[in-house]
């Protein structure tokens, strides 16, 4: 096809029209969506899981804790819940953590309630700050009135990098600094 000026100008004009209609469709869809997001997200947090913000943000309402606080709760005997898939848990997890994949919570709710009997604190984690499974699990637990639930935002990645105790089929590396063992797990 020979591209003459007329065709080029018309193509560009048509493209602008397509983009404007697409833009309107996108904004209308977001306004009506049950998973809508605001125009600005929280993607540049100093610490914590970056998120789109708004009503449907997975992090909304959850309490995020850092490595120091996670270690303190670990030593206090809080129940650590690993929200990653079973295979990741089997490979390596925080020592004493229980596996509760986020997608299996409904089926394992009774088991979780037993774990947290006596108003125990729960620390939920996933791989790191790129995942939202821990937040989704924490939200579900809060909805089940388990309000002493915290999200360890740095997750497995930060815990392992600090050399804190882990276990699993993938091997247990020597910790850089061995904190006191939890009183119960």
């Amino acid at each position: 096809m020979k591209v003459n000026n007329h065709t080029l100008v018309r193509t560009l004009c048509e493209t602008v029209v397509v983009l404007i209609i697409g833009l309107l469709a996108g904004f209308s869809n977001n306004a009506l969506s049950s998973r809508s997001i605001p125009l600005m997200g929280q993607w540049d947090k100093a610490y914590g899981v970056p998120s789109p913000g708004g009503m449907h943000d997975p992090t909304r309402g959850n309490i995020e804790i850092g490595l120091g606080e996670a270690l303190r709760l670990f030593n206090e005997g809080a129940v650590f819940l690993d929200s990653r898939p079973d295979e990741s848990y089997a490979e390596r997890h925080i020592r004493g953590a229980r596996s509760v994949p986020e997608k299996q919570l409904a089926a394992r709710m009774e088991e979780v309630l037993t774990m947290l009997e006596g108003d125990k604190k729960a620390v939920v984690y996933c791989q790191g700050m790129e995942c939202d499974e821990a937040h989704l699990l924490a939200r579900a637990l809060r909805e089940a009135c388990l309000n002493k639930t915290f999200v360890f935002a740095g997750g497995m990645k930060e815990w392992e990098a600090a050399g804190y105790p882990v276990e699993g089929a993938g091997g247990t590396p020597e910790p850089v600094e061995q904190p006191a063992a939890p009183s119960e797990s």
Binding site: T11, L12, T15, L23, N30, P38, L39, P52
Partner: protein, 164 residues
Amino acid sequence: MKHGGIRLLDQSMVLILRLFLGGLFIFASLHKLGDPVSFSRIIYGYKILPPWAINILAIVLPGVELIAGVLLILGFLSRGAALTTTLSLGVFICALGYNLARGLEFDCGCFSFAHSPKGAAVDLLIRDLILLALSLRVLLAKRYACSLDWLFGLERGGKCFARE
């Protein structure tokens, strides 16, 4: 007659490509339209855009994909829709290539929000390069057969398949 046959074949091929690309873009937009939260996280995972642009793209891109797909199938503003799909694919290819070059693992988010297996980026790049070639073929077509464009007089030819 011989040239007429080739033209008919060419127009038929462009028609099939239009329907294929249109359907593909509509399909690719649906899961993104249904879940802007997850799509924004996928865009964040590419680690290319500044924080202020992530949500805006997550809102706008699925709408543009849907409209470009629908217009390609209808054959209305066909060249504009084809240029839109071509530019979109060009941007996807640049993003994939950039992350591949710097060794970043990320989820494509193209047709679902499932985690992409390791090493999938090369396959995705090849797939998108093929789609880019098809989209360019539609963009550079002489005319669009059986399209609303010719019905509304935006394209030459007075029939569904023009022999001239």
